[in-house]
């Protein structure tokens, strides 16, 4: 027995003394507020206080807690209460997975330094990683927790910085994929390929099955349905469990289900590997053996956009620049590794897991398991970051298979290593091409060729190949363009969706070339962009006539900042200023992309919003409710949120492509307006009437007439509500023709960012000083959450530019794979530009991906401005910057 004080309560626990304190808290004491992100002390998510000092619970043997005081996020100290309120007020919790660790670290700091400065906070919290916020809001929250308490905002509806509606859970230790499971659930472990390409044979599986603690073993042979999936069904090629050969390192080839309480140890699993030649690079793969026999040249797909005669335009141009850009695999590195649980409810297989796409999970899992859709229910847990990778199924069919076959509940938690090796990555890109302009600096034409390493299976490769040519002009008027992007299979990790679907890679190419072109044309780099910015009525590269084009406003908003920054940098060795733009079409590319939202009034007088859009930290739980509240004319306080849950919410589509505020927001607006119309009709009131809820009574006031509707007296409908409405919205787009011409998106968002930095010329290190970000989001439904998206996207852009590169076999953890920490993200000034789009709800456009796109090229442009060094490969690690600098010196 080990005894200690836990949040002021004496506890005794029977556990092996070397067991991690995190495991004891979670598995033996049921205290799941402490999160586990890496089991290696790299992320700090599991931070708890031991006699007031922060430690990683994953590195602490429970024996060392004996007789001491352990404080976790479940604790209730005045300091924690102040911190929680400050985190909510500053939007410092997005997905919430790092929040317990942040809160505990901050609590340690505030106990020793009650009024810390921002620098103190940054230093003290530096041991906790966050992938969503960019840290600035966390610093602000902790500083403010040391000051006078803020009055909470009371504003409501569209345009108000409402605190997250799911925020209270986030600051208490929310319930993520690993945090809930039926008692007695089997523990599922995957056997994974240690090789990028290898044949394999199983030994005596029956003998292994007979081992004590082993409940079941499954292989590809046990899959009852179609053992091939893809997020884009016509490309379905990825097995849930691979049959020989395995096509990438980390691919699942077998499952073992262990009894609860047994040691889930895969040592001795009978499998023999025969490594096979592996194709690592697209250049090899284009002429190598085929990964998929029906895809010659290992070409998954080529996307193209051709408008006008680019070659002729370039030949006639006054100035032409030519150049290349290379990027690597980038890991999403959300702090929550994939996790979930499965169980049967009668004939229905229920899967609760972290996901961005419950509807797609349901379709794919049903197909793999050979079940009709009605027999699969997906309940998304809170999601500890997704950024695109949790669009693809991971463990859903695995635990689904175990539960379906055994009839017993099961659960699975990926290790950090497993999460990094087996899930999708950002596509590595090799890009080349030319851009020209006339003597006055107007862009004349672009030729672009991009090769994208799509890895072993299709995933979102087609989307990347289609999106890149559409966007690679940047938000500038381009009369002639020939742009091709090919997605090539290799034995690398599966490249899929990652915030921007290839557009950030393309922007690195085009925006660095535009700086060189502006120089050639003798124009200021910002003015060059303003001159060429798309305007209303311009046709895009795909021939789409644009409206509500906000890029000109974004760029001109940067003008005073640009002037100041250039003046400040002038004459300062190593100081540089860079700018880059973005545009991004919201929603699927030229494909249907509907959302449906249901809203009702309950007999108790609540507004019940059935909201199937997963909130992965970006804020859809709050923003969609704000839109519905505004349209309905009732306060947010009256709202109760249901879902997402495929059993309770209609399909709001996936959380991807910056579509939820726009698409699901439009559906929510329509559903709420329908409900309002229905209520007004029942009250016989006009459009100008006001609604109020008084208990179970709906009060409708219309020009001096008051009508009361007793909601409890109405017969409940199929949803248990007194009145329910539902509405769908699907963006009006057209298909792209063979030359990529058409209207692939109904709404585009725009932005531009300016980076100020200092390059250490002797070491090649880069210190960011400030980033100013102007983003046209149409209408800021919630300005605080919008700023949170901007800061978080910038942090990921910083990682892409300066430090992140996933190398299979070498950077499969969070200490060799570097993401930005506190101190790597400089102060950020966000300028919210509102050019309303007639298609968006209240004019709103998407924002979530846009914000990452300009950061990395703006950094490279600032490095070039500071030093003359042209970086053509990211990340710009110190040794690469120094090499580029030395190239200049020769």
């Amino acid at each position: 027995m080990i005894a200690f004080s836990l949040n002021g309560r004496e506890v005794e626990v029977e556990a092996p003394p070397a067991e991690r304190l995190s495991e004891v808290l979670r598995e033996r004491l049921g205290m799941v507020g402490t999160k586990v992100g890496c089991d290696a002390g790299d992320c700090g998510a599991c931070t708890v206080l031991l006699d007031g000092a922060s430690v990683c619970a994953c590195l602490t043997p429970v024996a060392q807690a004996e007789g001491r005081k352990v404080t976790t996020v479940e604790g209730n100290t005045p300091t924690l209460a102040r911190l929680r309120a400050a985190f909510l007020a500053h939007g410092a919790a997005q997905c919430g997975i790092c929040t317990p660790g942040m809160l505990m670290s901050a609590a340690e700091l505030l106990e020793e330094t009650p009024k810390p400065t921002a620098d103190k906070v940054e230093a003290a919290l530096g041991g906790v990683l966050c992938r969503c916020t960019g840290y600035r809001s966390i610093i602000a929250a902790v500083v403010s927790a040391g000051q006078e308490a803020l009055a909470p905002t009371v504003a409501d509806g569209v345009g108000a910085s409402v605190q997250r509606l799911d925020g209270a859970a986030k600051v208490a230790g929310d319930s993520f994929g690993a945090d809930a499971w039926p008692s007695g659930a089997l523990v599922v472990k995957a056997v994974r390929s240690p090789h990028p390409h290898a044949g394999f044979e199983f030994g005596d599986l029956d003998a292994y099955r007979a081992r004590p603690g082993v409940a079941a073993v499954f292989t590809a042979a046990d899959i009852p349905g179609r053992n091939a999936f893809s997020v884009i069904p016509p490309f379905a090629d990825q097995p849930a469990i691979a049959a020989s050969p395995a096509r990438f390192r980390g691919e699942c080839v077998a499952l073992v289900a262990f009894d609860a309480g047994a040691e889930p140890d895969l040592a001795g699993f009978p499998i023999t590997w025969t490594p096979l030649p592996a194709l690592a690079l697209p250049a090899e793969a284009e002429v190598g053996a085929l990964l998929h026999p029906n895809r010659p040249g290992n070409l998954l797909i080529e996307g193209r956009v051709i408008k006008g005669d680019a070659a002729a335009a370039l030949a006639a141009s006054a100035h032409v620049v030519e150049g290349g850009m290379t990027t690597g695999f980038v890991e999403h590195a959300y702090i929550e590794p994939e996790a979930g649980a499965a169980w049967m409810e009668g004939e229905t297989l229920v899967i609760r897991a972290c996901t961005q796409a419950p509807g797609m999970d349901r379709e794919d899992t049903a197909a793999i398991l050979g079940l009709p859709m009605e027999r699969v229910r997906i309940i998304p847990s809170a999601v500890g970051g997704g950024f695109g990778s949790k669009l693809d199924i991971s463990l859903q069919p695995l635990i689904g298979l175990v539960t379906l076959k055994t009839g017993r509940p099961s659960r699975m938690i990926y290790s950090r290593h497993e999460s990094m090796t087996s899930t999708t990555k950002r596509h590595p890109a090799e890009m080349r091409g030319r851009i020209g302009c006339d003597a006055s600096g107007r862009i004349t034409g672009i030729e672009f060729e991009g090769r994208f390493n799509t890895g072993a299976y299709s995933s979102w490769g087609p989307t990347v190949a289609n999106r890149v040519p559409v966007h690679v002009s940047g938000p500038y008027f381009t009369p002639a363009i020939t742009a091709r992007a090919r997605a090539i299979h290799t034995h690398g990790p599966v490249s899929g969706a990652f915030r921007g679907f290839g557009v950030p890679q393309g922007a690195l190419w085009q925006e660095t070339l535009y700086d060189r072109l502006a120089d050639k044309a003798g124009l200021d780099r910002l003015e060059f962009r303003i001159l060429n910015a798309l305007r209303d009525g311009d046709a895009s590269a795909t021939g789409q006539v644009l409206r509500a084009t906000g890029i000109h406003d974004c760029l001109t908003a940067l003008r005073p900042h640009w002037t100041r920054a250039l003046a400040e940098a002038k004459g300062q060795p190593g100081r540089g200023v860079g700018v880059a733009s973005c545009w991004y079409g919201c929603g699927n590319t030229a494909l249907p992309n509907p959302s449906t939202i249901r809203i009702g009034l309950s007999p108790k007088g609540e507004v019940v919003l059935h909201q199937g859009a997963t909130d992965i930290g970006q804020g859809s739980n709050t923003v969609i409710a704000q839109i519905a509240a505004e349209a309905l004319g009732l306060p947010l306080a009256a709202f109760r949120l249901i879902g997402p849950d495929t059993g309770l919410t209609p399909d709001a589509g996936k959380t991807s492509a910056s579509r939820q505020t726009y698409v699901s927001g439009r559906a929510a607006k329509a559903a709420a307006e329908k409900l309002r119309g229905e209520l007004l009709r029942r009250a016989n009131a006009g459009e100008g009437a006001t609604l109020a809820l008084e208990g179970a009574e709906l009060v409708v006031r219309d020009r001096g007439t008051t009508t009361r509707i007793d909601l409890a007296a109405l017969p409940p409908d199929a949803h248990g509500h007194s009145v329910t409405t539902e509405a769908s919205y699907d963006p009006p787009t057209t298909a792209l023709d063979a030359n990529g011409q058409g209207a692939p998106y109904a709404v585009y968002g725009y932005g531009a960012q300016m980076v100020e930095l200092e390059v250490d010329r002797a070491l090649g290190t880069v210190k960011l000083l400030k980033i100013t970000a102007a983003h046209d989001l149409g209408r800021a439904i919630n300005p605080m959450l919008a700023r949170g998206q901007i800061e978080g996207g910038i942090a990921q852009g910083i990682g892409l530019a300066l430090m992140e590169e996933y190398l299979p076999g070498r950077t499969e953890n969070l200490h060799d794979y570097l993401i930005p920490t506190f101190g790597d993200v400089p102060p950020i000034e966000s300028l919210l530009i509102e050019v309303p789009d007639p298609e968006g709800p209240y004019g709103a456009k998407g924002l979530g991906e846009h914000v990452l796109i300009p950061t990395a090229p703006a950094i490279l442009n600032a490095i070039r401005h500071a030093t003359g060094a042209e970086i053509t490969r990211v990340p710009a690690l110190p040794h690469r910057v120094l090499e580029a600098l030395e190239g200049r010196d020769d």
Partner: protein
């Protein structure tokens, strides 16, 4: 589950004698802060484990002429201690090893026994001329730190022996020091390279120089040629006496995911200059 066998797997002795008796009886893994053992442990830390954190005298700093640091002293305790200026590099390193969580648990002895080429604690201790005190049932012996660290993940620790303390002789406590760490991000970063410089000055002349570099050779090393060039230099010109040729003469950097060998050679010379300047500032 399995608590009976687990107890035999884990020992947390309350005295050094008990620890040595235990150690003599089997192949024990010594655990202090756990910050190096758990990350490579997989789902469970395999035993048997000897936890040294409850042994009296194994943690804390003491001494008048010499400085004695118990092997289980945490980085936070080192950072917060009132130490001579010669140990400033050690204290600067202490604040940059992992985050606060790791500094609160991780120990100086663990850092040495883990013997990573990138261990941030080693260059400052080499610059201090630190020795290690190794204890076994057979007695106590002292080794210079440079003789204790044999290679990546290899030390001179014998079976049945335990690192009890780090001892800095009074001669190593002269002068002032500085630690400069280079990595690709600001926190939680494994060093591309790091340098500790300790310099003693008389008037405007450097009288003593100890320069050590980590992560640019299999084991962190002192740079004798650089040290020789610095002795006798004017304070204002000392950093200029650091030549790249002298710096790289003692190094054997490799290419890895963090940087190239060529970069390390170039960067270390600059880091040495900066550390020298900071120590003299």
């Amino acid at each position: 589950m399995k608590s009976g066998s687990a107890v035999l797997d884990y020992s947390r002795p309350k005295s050094l004698d008990e620890a040595l008796r235990t150690l003599a009886g089997g192949d024990w893994r010594v655990l202090a802060g756990g910050t190096d053992l758990y990350p490579v442990a997989g789902p469970r830390l395999a035993g048997p484990v000897l936890d040294v954190t409850a042994i009296p005298g194994f943690s804390g700093l003491s001494g008048d002429q010499d400085l004695r640091i118990g092997a289980a002293t945490t980085w936070t305790d080192i950072a917060n201690a009132n130490l001579p200026e010669a140990a400033r590099a050690l204290q600067q390193a202490a604040r940059q090893i992992g985050g606060r969580q790791v500094q609160n648990a991780g120990t100086i002895g663990g850092n040495l026994c883990n013997a990573s080429p990138a261990a941030d604690g080693v260059p400052p201790l080499l610059a201090l001329g630190a020795e290690v005190e190794l204890v076994s049932a057979a007695g106590t012996r002292r080794l210079g730190l440079q003789d204790f660290l044999l290679g990546p993940r290899r030390t001179a620790l014998r079976t049945g022996e335990i690192l009890a303390a780090i001892v800095v002789p009074g001669s190593g406590l002269r002068g002032r020091s500085a630690f400069v760490k280079l990595g690709a991000r600001s926190h939680l970063v494994i060093s591309i390279a790091m340098v500790a410089a300790r310099l003693a000055v008389d008037g405007d002349r450097v009288t003593e120089a100890a320069i050590a570099v980590g992560a640019a050779s299999p084991v962190a090393v002192r740079l004798p040629q650089v040290e020789a060039a610095l002795v006798g230099a004017r304070v204002a010109e000392a950093a200029l006496r650091v030549t790249s040729a002298d710096v790289v003469a003692s190094l054997a950097p490799i290419d890895d995911v963090r940087a190239t060998a060529a970069y390390r050679r170039a960067a270390v010379a600059e880091l040495v200059r900066r550390a020298v300047s900071e120590a003299l500032a």
